[in-house]
């Protein structure tokens, strides 16, 4: 009887394990929901970066974060390089120029701004 009981238990355990293998899981998130999740979490991180900012760093930070918003350059490059229509690629080229100006000019101006904060001390 004992042997029979043990065998039954073992069989049930095996069945339980097989159930987990056979798909007792969540279904994968849709792309849009995953992206929205990332977006929301990134908002909190972004809000936290200015937690301890002092007034004299305001201009530097605004300029610096302006540079990061030049990430739009990625979209512009794809537009300028991968679109099927010449006109769209040309407009993409304009977008690339604008975004690159944003980045390059912004980096230099941010540097100038932070130099200013050093002079004040």
């Amino acid at each position: 009887m004992r042997v029979f009981h043990t065998l039954t238990v073992l069989a049930n355990v095996e069945k339980g394990l097989a159930d987990t293998e056979a798909g007792a899981t969540f279904s994968a998130p849709s792309m849009s929901m995953a992206l929205l999740t990332i977006f929301v979490l990134a908002l909190y991180v972004g809000a936290g970066t200015v937690a301890k900012i002092q007034p004299k760093m305001f201009t530097t930070f605004v300029s610096g974060s302006n540079v990061i918003s030049g990430i739009t350059l990625l979209g512009a490059i794809v537009l300028a390089g991968r679109s099927d229509y010449v006109l769209v690629r040309m407009l993409g080229g304009i977008a690339v120029a604008l975004a690159t100006m944003n980045v390059v000019g912004g980096l230099l101006i941010t540097h100038q701004a932070l130099e200013n904060t050093k002079e004040e001390t």
């Binding site: 849009s32 992206l35 929205l36 990332i38 977006f39 929301v40 990134a42 908002l43 991180v45 972004g46 970066t49 200015v50 301890k52 900012i53 760093m57 305001f58 201009t59 930070f61 605004v62 300029s63 974060s65 302006n66 990061i68 918003s69 030049g70 990430i71 739009t72 350059l73 990625l74 979209g75 490059i77 794809v78 537009l79 390089g81 991968r82 679109s83 769209v88 993409g92 080229g93 304009i94 977008a95 690339v96 120029a97 604008l98 975004a99 690159t100 100006m101 944003n102 980045v103 390059v104 000019g105 912004g106 980096l107 230099l108 101006i109 941010t110 540097h111 100038q112 932070l114 200013n116």
Partner: protein, 294 residues
């Protein structure tokens, strides 16, 4: 190769977070600036190397023009005039976002979330573009328009905003209507001008932070439209930090954001009538008071 591009974007975003933290401190701000430069270089470089591009001529021309333009603008910037050039560059970024979002929207069928994202991106980048250029012009003391009375302002910006919202609802329901999208963008451009032209020059630092946040959120919405995580995260970082920073600056300058947006100014002469201040609606229009102390 596709996965490498996305991995590098993740690394780049982590670098952006570190860079922004450093940029808020005096002693590490330089490090932060270099870090964001490195992150952008890395992300863009890997994208350029990996890409299956039909045609690189416009990319190359654009980048060369952009680098030259960026250097030129930075040359023109004096230490006392940093913020107007920051907002000018912000406007350029918003313009780029507008093109990317608008042309990306028209190109292929999108699901509802992507259409909503495209509409948000279009509105925010259009307002950001015209608003930034207006702010630049105001700070450079260009004669771009006098400040009319408050009651007119509410009507103008309110009605423009209502048109934009109605149009965006229609577009979400009828995503094939690309023409209406660009009409809405046009209306939003006008809205951006009118909103910024009312803001006092003294309040421009706050407006600049708001515009910065707008272009950040526009980039993020474009990222949701194009399913690009780098755009989404970086845009959210910039947008959220700009949003919070606007509140911080308002508190530091002791101004309420509502007052800033509607041009109610501390640069009005306090009108004392019978020993009391008049309520804001009764204050004389801004063009009567030539107080621009910046």
């Amino acid at each position: 190769m596709i996965e490498l591009v996305e991995l590098i974007q993740l690394i780049g975003c982590v670098m952006f977070i570190a860079a922004m933290r450093w940029l808020s401190t005096p002693q590490f701000a330089n490090r932060g600036n270099l870090c964001s430069a490195g992150a952008l270089l890395l992300i863009v470089g890997v994208l350029l190397c990996s890409g299956n591009f039909k045609d690189v001529t416009w990319i190359v021309l654009g980048m060369l023009g952009g680098i030259a333009g960026g250097f030129w603008i930075a040359q023109q910037t004096q230490s006392t005039a940093i913020q107007q050039h920051v907002v000018l560059l912000n406007g350029f970024g918003a313009g780029a976002s507008l093109l990317v979002a608008g042309l990306g929207f028209g190109s292929s069928p999108r699901n509802t979330i992507e259409v909503v994202a495209a509409v948000i991106a279009g509105l925010l980048s259009a307002v950001g573009l015209s608003g930034s250029l207006t702010a630049f012009a105001k700070l450079e003391k260009m004669p771009i328009g006098r400040n009319p009375k408050f009651s007119v302002q509410h009507r103008i910006t309110g009605s423009l905003l209502a048109v934009c919202l109605v149009a965006s609802l229609w577009i979400i329901l009828h995503p094939q209507d690309v023409l209406l999208y660009w009409v809405m963008v046009l209306v939003a451009l006008v809205l951006g001008y009118f909103q910024l032209v009312f803001i006092a020059r003294k309040d421009m630092p706050i407006a600049i932070s708001v515009l910065n946040a707008f272009s950040g959120f526009a980039a993020s919405a474009t990222g949701i439209l194009l399913s690009n995580t780098g755009l989404i995260v970086a845009g959210a970082l910039v947008g959220a930090s700009g949003f919070v920073l606007t509140g911080v600056i308002c508190k530091a300058l002791n101004r309420a954001i509502r007052d800033v947006l509607f041009g109610v100014g501390s640069d009005h002469i306090l009108v004392i009538a019978n020993g009391e201040d008049l309520p804001s609606q009764d204050l004389p229009p801004l063009d009567v008071l030539p107080l621009d102390s910046l």
